[in-house]
Symmetry: C2
Subunit: 294 residues, 2 copies
């Protein structure tokens, strides 16, 4: 398969769906909708929604009916960026190559834009899906809220904030990563596998796949903060080092961090061994995560 | 019925359920859970969850199985208070008789506590309910996210912020109130009626009941900001006038604002005319809303 072309097509699919599912910028409350669109539209790799679609395909399901649920994942990811960028949190000025939401608008608008996106996410996730039993949808809404919430992403961000300005060991760093980034990536994969009609054993394997690439993704992000290109990344680079933040490369060295990410990708690929050629996009996505650093 | 005793019992029921459903203060992430509990536990009248339970009872349903959904409403209400109190928003120091979340903890923790509560709300709302079809639960999650989101509460708060420091006419004020407070109160009533097993016509009437008491509630809050007791209310009083904020009493005078609230309560009561004695708590709740100002 032509993975570059696949990524481009899937991103287009997600971008079109987001544009339709998110209120128009000229509709009231206009300033809120503009702020939401500023942060959400045309930005980012759309990794999480693409994982939903690819996981559904891997179990032989149709990806298109899952587009609203896939977009919910992007809404949650984007809200978390808007809130994390706030002055009281990471205080970032640039995101996805543009001014952050509170820089372009103001803090109150950015807080509300995040709140609006998070709430919209659950509206999209709870929409009935053709040929999917309502109890499966309901179960995936519960799963999504757990992975995005106190025991997932929000909790991870809290632990990350608390770990600032003190020594952090590898076990704690891994704990933070698994919650802050890993939970939502795992959730994307599981939702795709479940709502795509996968059986229990397939869902379990794809869950493990998601956990492995979730951690690999965050290690890679740490690495890119050192070796990456600020313009290509669309965000401030070198901030971790400036702030003496605990990262995988800081704790184990750049080489070993790369090895760790590669091992996790191999583990993810091994989860997909019993899957057909339908899982090819999911396999390519796993490789793509660490390729970004080589 | 002894309404005072009813309120006390229902509040106790909701408080016990919240205590069970929200993570313990000593569980990680401890600071986040402490902040959530600081704002959520033992505070407030629990009006929204009690409306869920009373609406279910009004259609002959059992209220207890709806407790997690009812608690979801209180989580959403509390998250909105935490975020609205932030320095970038209303900048309030006191809420429910205690320091606001960001005063007791810090801004970052308050933002995350709000995010965590909003996310938890959808986990609770999407829990399977005994004897309730999964598609009804799913529909009520969609309804709740619409009423809490861009076209409901979050949008209303945005419009409220935008209306500061300029002249606001009655029509716009009503629009803000209907979205900022009304939508979630209506949602509580509708969810109770639907998940309690009400038929279409009952749900429609209780929806209209909810719209009427929602607006009456906000008008009453405006009135209480003038005539209320800061200690009894547990929050800063007289702020609207200080900030020259548009309110019902400011725009139409105290007497006419009281009449308007009374009319709305009568309209709400007329919606319940065809209901049995099971709707008595819902009737008493409507009267209670304006009684607070007399």
């Amino acid at each position: 398969m032509d993975f570059k072309e696949y990524l481009k097509q899937q991103k287009q699919l997600v971008d079109n769906a987001l544009d339709k599912l998110v209120p128009a910028a000229n509709k009231p409350p206009a300033r809120l909708n503009q702020a939401i669109r500023h942060s959400l539209i045309d930005g980012g790799k759309r990794l999480r929604p693409i994982l939903v679609l690819a996981a559904a395909q891997a179990v032989g399901g149709k990806p298109e009916p899952l587009l609203p649920f896939a977009c919910a994942l992007e809404c949650i990811h984007t809200y978390s960026l808007i809130h994390d960028d706030l002055p009281a949190m990471d205080n970032d000025d640039v995101r996805r190559g543009r001014p952050t939401c509170h820089k372009q608008f103001d803090e109150a608008t950015a807080i509300l834009a995040g709140d609006g996106l998070l709430t919209l996410a659950f509206e999209l996730a709870a929409r009935p899906i053709q040929d999917v039993p309502a109890q499966d949808s309901l179960a995936m809404v519960v799963q999504l809220s757990q992975d995005a919430g106190i025991h997932g992403m929000v909790g991870g961000q809290m632990m990350d904030m608390e770990a600032e300005d003190r020594e952090v060991e590898l076990a704690e760093l891994q704990y933070i990563h698994i919650h802050k980034t890993g939970a939502l990536i795992r959730s994307s994969c599981m939702a795709g596998a479940c709502l795509g009609g996968g059986d229990k054993s397939q869902i379990k394997l794809i869950k493990r796949y998601g956990e492995a690439i979730g951690l690999a993704f965050q290690i890679t992000d740490d690495i890119l903060d050192i070796v990456g290109d600020s313009e290509l990344m669309g965000k401030t680079i070198g901030k971790d080092q400036q702030q003496a933040k605990a990262t995988y490369p800081a704790l184990m060295g750049l080489g070993q961090a790369r090895d760790e990410a590669d091992n996790l990708v191999n583990e993810a690929l091994s989860c997909l061994q019993g899957f057909s050629a339908d899982a090819e996009p999911l396999r390519a996505l796993a490789r793509y995560i660490t390729d970004r650093t080589h």
